[in-house]
């Protein structure tokens, strides 16, 4: 158990010391995961809404596939991106392997099904009145869909926090396509793996602490999106 105390202490010292290498690694982690989250959101929220609202053949199958891809193993995502971006792959020309761009692409693959699937569920759970009201007030389908998305904010923010959790914690994909190159593609999770492999458990724990702290801060940021739009806490209360 000493190791755990040692790790907590070391983590605290790490944070206080602002070791430049750690700062760099942390910033890269944030950059990769937040970029991937944004891309996943830009595609996933509209697509999830379409899957929830639009009637077309294969809608249900597509939804089920989306849910299934929530279970895409990071290593597999990494491998697929690897095969596409590799010099001998179809997009080899762009020389993206072992760059943060490749890591972002792989993480988008992981984050997209989560954002899309959870958005679809949040949207489907809305009462019919949302559409009815928007439509009777003259909204086009697109405008009505926005109204529905707006009402689904709580669920969509849950989708974003969940996806962020998955991405910031994920190591399989970034390890595979990033390569854990020191100073270039090393992020917090790959550092943790490296430390455990080298038997430095307390360092691994310390970096883990930093990661959780970062996750906490980004979560607060995402949740503040919600507070900005809901003036007071609107939730069911029991007496």
């Amino acid at each position: 158990m000493d190791v755990i105390w040692q790790g907590l202490k070391e983590g605290f010292l790490l944070i206080v010391a602002m070791d430049p290498e750690l700062v760099h690694i942390t910033l890269l982690s944030i950059q990769v995961s937040v970029s991937a989250l944004l891309l996943a959101a830009i595609m996933g929220i509209p697509l999830g809404t379409v899957l929830a609202l639009k009637e077309f053949p294969g809608r249900k199958t597509l939804l089920n596939i989306t849910y299934t891809f929530m279970g895409l193993p990071p290593v597999l995502a990494g491998l697929l991106v690897f095969l596409f971006l590799s010099t001998s792959g179809p997009f080899g020309y762009f020389q993206l392997m072992f760059t943060p761009t490749a890591m972002i692409i792989a993480q988008v693959l992981l984050g997209f099904p989560i954002v899309c699937g959870l958005t679809a569920r949040a949207v489907m759970a809305q009462p019919q009145e949302v559409f009815d009201t928007a439509a009777t007030l003259g909204a086009t389908r697109r405008q009505a869909s926005w109204a529905i998305i707006r009402e689904s904010r709580m669920g969509i923010i849950a989708a974003l926090t969940t996806a962020l959790g998955r991405l910031i914690a994920e190591v399989g994909a970034v390890m595979m396509v990033g390569g854990n190159i020191k100073g270039e593609t090393r992020v917090l999770t790959t550092s943790i793996v490296l430390e455990t492999r080298m038997g430095n458990d307390s360092s691994a724990l310390a970096i883990g602490m930093v990661l959780l702290l970062i996750a906490f801060l980004i979560m607060l940021l995402i949740l503040s999106l919600e507070k900005r739009t809901f003036t007071d806490e609107r939730r069911i209360q029991i007496v």
Binding site: T133, A135, T136, G138, T140, R141, A147, E151, T231
Partner: protein, 244 residues
Amino acid sequence: MNAEFKLFNISKSYGQREVLNIDNLEIGGGRIYCILGPNGAGKTTLFRIMSLLTLNDTGKMHILGEEVTWQKSQVVRLRRQMAMVTQTSFMFEGSVYYNVAYGLRVRKTAAAEEKRIVNESLELLGMMDFINQQARNLSGGERQKVAIARALAVKPRVLFLDEPTSNIDPASALDIEHYIQYINKEMGTTIIMVTHNLFQARRLSEEIFFMWEGRIIEKGETQKLFDNAQDKRTRSFIKGEIVF
């Protein structure tokens, strides 16, 4: 031939049950029309189909001079000329202002104009004090008033009112009735309303459609229908008048 609504053979079923079956319905426009009938007769369903909220299973409609093809652009064009106060007065999450402004925003009304109209509409319903309140925290009657203000704000050609004063106190209801008459007379707005308040129907409407189990079984000028209904069921329903 310039009827605002013409419905032929319109039907709607849920599962096995046919809840609407309209052989032929013509609503000329320009007047105040009342749809009467017992609970579950299909009044709300008819409203939903006429305002293009629900697809009919069979039949054809002409609405505001166009044959309904359910083409996207047509649906929006027609919907923008109509507004409805639904039976539940659903409020969007947000302030009263946001709710009333919604219909103007989707029409891309200029900000100043939007503000002016929202204030005007709320003033009219006596709800100015609530302008910045969360709409979902309003009382039942207040909510209904905001729903009316919201529909009025878009200045529709046709206004559907589904039991618009059911939760509103008598004095306010009277004000609202007066306002309904005003916009009908002064602005030529066609008003089609459902109410269970037969006094209200009598006071306001010029024409009545009486529904029973999904069908329109009687229609006519209000005075005539109340004085001399042909159908036994209509007569018995109207006797319910004494309930109020």
